[in-house]
Amino acid sequence: MIRTKPISGELLALKNQIEKYAIDYGLDFFPQVFEVCDYDTINILAAQGGFPTRYPHWKFGMDYDQLSKGYAYGLQKIYEMVINTNPCYAYLLQANNWVDQKIVMAHVYAHNDFFKNNAWFSHTNRNMMDVMANHGTKIRRYMDRYGADAVESFIDKVLSLENLLDINELFETSALKRSRKELVDQEKVESEDDGYLNDDRSAALKSFMRTKARATKKDEPKEEVDEAVSAERRHVSTKDVLGYLIQNAPIEGWQADIIGILREEAYYFLPQRMTKIMNEGWASYWHSTIMTQRALDASEIIDFADKHAGVMHMSKQNINPYKVGIELMRDIEYRWNRGMFGKDYNECPSMKDKIEWDTKLGKGREKIFEVRKSHNDISFIDEFLTPDFCERQQLFTYKYNARSGRFEIDTKDFNAIKQKLLSQLTNFGQPIIEVEDGNYMNRKELLLNHVHYGIDLDVNFANETLRNLFAIWRRPVNLKTKYEDKEVIFHFDGKEFKPQG
């Protein structure tokens, strides 16, 4: 059943118009495809992360349930969905009014540009539409063969670990992996062969030579080597927990495949989680710029201002990424237009001079294009957040006051705000968990380490997660963390939870 249809007529004309503006401004994007659909379809798409087909799982049904109810009760409305593919697909809500469609289109072109140019997206699979569909087919087939319940409950368990990702994996392309492996192998061969095999014999022969070489070394003290190897294997220290499980857990082929599928999808979405502020800031900057400078008809100003203000709404409980993003982009542009950075500016003692500072540098636009290319949210905040900005934007941190039982504003201090923001963004907002030992206590137990930087884990959730991990690892699992300032190891042996230490 086809639920979306390509735009035509007036909307198509509008698309061409907005596209031309976007090109004029120097945005660089994948071919853009717009389709329109009704609210139910856009809820479906949103529930499925933007994709028309996903593997069958109740969680999409849950998200759909909530989105539909949210829409029905007037809590939220999705104007558009855009996905990181080439060509870039975006879905517009049919019921949007004319100004909305304009804003949304301008917004989408900037997202598209961001997907194409931001470094963190450089290795994402742009054919994800097909990949997701294939994943769906595969999992459906597994369900036919092994039973829907068995497959679904296994997926549930993997989803439990879905957030344990290593952002460095984003740059770990298969080519890179291969060349690194070759390098390591080569070094091994060379060291083992004492360097006298550095000729152009084939790799197969070399590997044969290597086994031979190893065989000849048998008389060397063996234990030392083994210990070194096992120590190396034991202390794995990877944050890519799913990847580690595929390699090392005693699972069947189909299960490994499912972990692989979910892992691939999680990594596909990871850059979006890491660049939420920048991505939305960038898109909002451009919809605002394109609308106010080019696309807006005089009669539409009020509607536009109303919509834009809605999107930019500030909340006391959360940071609105659209708001912080656009303001920071504009701030950077302003500062680089006037040369308000660097040693001279920073060390200038006069507040008045600083405010009036203008070297007529004019590099603002250039700078934000550069920023959108190379930064993620953390480096973006780390590098460009200034005390002036925090004050102007009325940012603050809040914390729980046990005495009053409320969350209360804690401070407006720049360093505190910056630290808080960075810690919220660290590891895309998820606790850093790494596999520390796959043979813990020499009993084939799994030891995970929570790299604790000040915030405790939710213990109930941690226990339940360990339970799911146990189902995959099939041997006792342990989590090393700190709880209420004490080192502790949570242990789950399949029956009960025991905190140790």
Binding site: M62, D65, Y398, F461, T465
Partner: protein
């Protein structure tokens, strides 16, 4: 074929069904969890299943916000009432799944009905009264100035001016004259009216403790909610009894604690009197509910009760509901007596045993599941 997500959705609903029941039980047994906001708005969390993950404990984390305020000012209690229409999400968002919505009582009743699969009540035919109501839905040419419809008046004036060619688009002045005036007028409509009365009777003798009363209270909240959604007008009367019965207001009903013996017939007698005096069974749908722990003073009195039920209360009421709340001190004999006489399936009588707070939902279903 519909979109495959509908299957995911059905699956989710099915999984949650067990869970929803639990969640719903939770609301039901803790009446206070349903928080009234404003006049008849309620906040109810949406069902969701939290996949366990390693995540930060909430409280210690705190957060960041934006806006006016000084250190020490609270940041909560300011939940944006309309939510924020966001400008589209890109990909995945790790949102808070416990979305809260404001529900009106009607919606809450509908959810209750959906979850418990309650049938709609069909009021007895003869009890539907026709009533005439006047609603201002029409437009007339005469009327008092206070009901003058300005827009229609000007429209009329504009029409007249255009047709008489006295309208100048360059100088768009429209001046209504007497015969242009239009007034809101009433339309007479015949509406079916059905009214219902719920008569709650509760045993407040010594054996009914606070816990039992809490159960009755919660249960009556949901029963009222459902019946209110089914009937246009509903009246609620309260009777408490030990050895004697008296009519009280709601507050007293739930808070009175008496001691002493129990004569159930006293309550049934009073119930009968109330019906005779105020509620003509031909015009009213009558729902007597009786909650007790099942102790009655004597077999003679029980006989009297059954007599009253048979001859007076059953003929008058849609259905008579007896809920027996389990109590440490109660014998539960009355339930047995009723079952012995009428069997567990009876047209006129619905019986339900309520073990504890968790039993409330099932009991509501017992009472209202017949659609009578």
């Amino acid at each position: 074929m519909d979109h495959p997500i509908k299957r995911d959705h059905a699956r989710f609903r099915k999984i949650v069904k067990g869970k929803i029941r639990d969640n719903l039980r939770k609301y039901v047994s803790h009446g206070s969890q349903i928080i009234p906001k404003g006049t008849d708005k309620f906040t109810v969390p949406m069902p969701s299943i939290d996949i366990p993950r390693f995540k930060f404990g909430d409280k210690s984390q705190g957060g960041m916000g934006q806006g006016q305020g000084k250190p020490g000012d609270p940041v909560d209690g300011q939940q944006d009432p309309n939510g924020q229409p966001g400008q589209g999400e890109t990909g995945e968002g790790e949102g808070n799944k416990e979305l809260e919505v404001e529900l009106s009582l009607e919606e809450l009743a509908r959810i209750l009905g959906d979850e418990l699969e309650l049938p709609n009540i069909e009021p007895k035919g003869k009890k539907s009264l026709k009533s005439v109501v006047n609603r201002y839905t029409n437009i007339g040419t005469t009327g008092p100035d206070s009901l003058r419809h300005l827009r229609r008046t000007y429209k009329q004036a504009l029409k007249r001016q255009i047709s008489s060619d006295s309208y100048d688009p360059e100088n768009p002045t429209v001046v209504p004259i007497r015969r242009d005036f239009r007034y809101r007028a009433s339309d007479t409509k015949v509406e079916m009216q059905n009214a219902a009365v719920v008569i709650y009777m509760m045993d407040v003798s010594g054996s009914m403790g606070d816990e039992q009363k809490e159960i009755v209270r919660t249960e009556s909240f949901w029963i009222n909610l459902w019946l209110k959604s089914q009937y246009k007008d509903i009246e609620i009367r309260y009777i408490i009894h030990d050895a004697t019965a008296k009519e009280v207001d709601e507050h007293t009903f739930f808070r009175t604690r008496e001691s002493g013996g129990t004569l159930i017939s006293s309550a049934y007698n009073l119930c009968k009197e109330i019906i005779d005096k105020d509620y003509n069974p031909n015009e009213w749908n009558i729902y007597p509910f009786h909650f007790s722990d099942g102790d009655n003073w004597s077999a003679d009195d029980t006989k009297l009760c059954l007599d009253l039920l048979d001859n007076h209360i059953f003929p008058a009421s849609n259905v008579f509901c007896y809920g027996q709340v389990e109590s440490r001190y109660g014998s539960g004999q009355f339930y047995k007596d009723l079952t012995a006489k009428y069997g567990s399936q009876n047209e006129n009588l619905t019986l339900s045993k309520i073990k504890n707070k968790e039993g409330i939902l099932d009991s509501i279903k017992d009472f209202l599941g017949k659609g009578k």
